[in-house]
């Protein structure tokens, strides 16, 4: 699928000079086309017909990283400092990690480079305020993490998805001992779920949060006396339990929970009041046939 780079490129002289200060400006090669043809075709249909133009992705192939190596850019420390703020920002962030964490624990990182043995699998929301490493202090190697909108777990029957793939890997290959689903306050995804209308408009967000529509039904039934914000808060917790039940629809997960090789936990992080609630699924006490109500044990609340 790679388009061979032509020596005489009719557009070479028409190439717009890069006026943006760009750390990669010196390694830019306009004739290196490495984007698959299909993308060009998709893009061309959205361009106005009067323009005769070509879309080129400059950094498409490992050839570029070789370019970086040829310019002796071994680490990000070599990127010029007087350019682009974002690159400086990311460079500083990584170097701070490298100095304070990586170099401070060489043996641990040497071991981790060989294999990971996390005890937890964590399913959390993509929300920027709720990173499990930050709020629960998971160190490298401790938690295999999935993050998606509203920390949802679709059922086994809903077919392959990125969540199922991660569950399969963490439970069957990595053999984690705990799965923790963490919800949180002011969740945009849950809000979208509660506010969704059947108006025929589709969007990705709607399609995705529909995975938790049972949680919405239960919330509307149990908390109809609360205002919208109150209902959303209630739904955030109901949805966590709903995800826990969905976990049990996976045969290999159910089997391990039955044999007590795997524990399933729910957690709720309230960042308005800074509190954390945690509970464990009580498999023995749960009767799944009764509209998915679960029994829980070991509930704790820290504030």
């Amino acid at each position: 699928m790679a388009i061979p780079s032509s020596i005489s490129d009719p557009f070479a002289s028409k190439f717009l000079p890069s006026s943006i200060s760009d750390p990669f400006a010196s390694s830019y090669q306009p004739s290196r086309i490495s984007v698959p043809v299909k993308i060009e075709q998709t893009q061309l249909t959205t361009l106005r017909r009067s323009h005769c133009s070509t879309l080129k992705a400059s950094m498409g192939s490992p050839g570029f990283t070789q370019q970086l190596n040829n310019n002796k850019l071994e680490t990000l420390a070599d990127v010029k400092d007087d350019r682009d703020d974002i690159f400086n920002d990311l460079k500083d962030r990584f170097l701070s990690f490298k100095k304070n964490v990586y170099m401070a624990n060489p043996e641990q990182f040497e071991n981790l480079a060989k294999v990971q043995v996390p005890k937890f699998m964590v399913i959390a929301c993509a929300d920027s305020r709720v990173c499990p490493s930050s709020i629960l202090g998971f160190q490298p190697g401790e938690a295999f993490t999935i993050r998606n909108i509203a920390n949802l777990v679709p059922t086994f029957e809903s077919g392959p998805s990125e969540v199922n793939a991660a569950l399969e890997f963490s439970v069957n290959t990595l053999q984690v001992e705990n799965i923790l689903v963490i919800g949180h306050s002011c969740c945009g995804g849950i809000r979208a779920l509660m506010g969704m209308e059947d108006d025929g408009n589709t969007s990705f967000i709607k399609s995705w949060v529909t995975n938790a529509k049972n949680a919405r039904v239960k919330t509307k039934a149990a908390a109809s006396n609360l205002d919208f914000d109150g209902q959303c808060s209630h739904c955030e917790k109901v949805s966590i339990n709903h995800s826990l039940v969905n976990l049990l629809t996976y045969p290999w997960i159910k089997e391990k929970v039955e044999k007590e090789e795997l524990s399933i936990h729910g957690g709720y992080y309230d960042f308005v009041n800074c509190s954390f609630e945690k509970w464990t699924l009580d498999y023995r006490g749960t009767k799944l046939e009764e509209n998915g109500r679960i029994a829980i044990k070991n509930k704790v609340f820290w504030y």
Partner: protein, 265 residues
Amino acid sequence: MAIQSSQLAIEQLKNLLREKEELNEVVTTKIEELIVELQGCHPHPIDPAQQIIDGFTYFKFNNFDKNPELYERLAKGQSPKFMVFACSDSRVSPSVILNFQPGEAFVVRNIANIVPAFNQLRYSGVGATIEYAITALKVKNILVIGHSRCGGISRLMSHPEDGSIPFDFIDDWVKIGLPAKTNVMKEYEGYDFKEQCNFCELESVNNSLVNLHTYPYVDREIRNKNLALLGGYYDFVNGEFKLWKYMSVVTKPITIPLKTNDLTI
């Protein structure tokens, strides 16, 4: 008892590595992995609840309580500048390796940090995150971070040639990265498997960046110069981070038929 038996096992495995120099690479890797796993086995396993309690308590006292203004602001809403796609691998949390504080990065993690192309019928999970990040949060940068020793990429590279039983879900997911594998097999034919996996880890990030561009709102924001797509690669074997930009360029048009002065290129 447990300490003694696992330490004994570790010693014996280490001896095996030292004495049997002719062991092939697969066996050596396996033995090294076993040693690490045994070293991680505590005689008194850490109670998961206690670990979480300790972690949260540390966060509350050392971070939350010390930054009341920040958290008051965050309680009202989030406005992260970054959206990050990272692998679910326990060793590569973006908050740790790039020191993102709460509120700075909207993070999506999945196996092998893959972004599928725009498809309204499937992959609504990833689609929803991109839709939300761009239309609601208006992030300015999307960073896709690959990493070394990625299990998902390794599976992509080895299956189905290794003849193993397919995984129900993992294989269906990682096959999104097939264009990356095809490129690598062609350009790096003859390299050994581990090196090909390394190249594929990088190439798959590029594949994801190209796929990101197929989302209409991503394309729109790029053309309006409101959004940058960045690729990253965290190599935890050597302690390095690679960073690059995805750029799509529109050149000035040439007029056909060419006038004589246009021939001097």
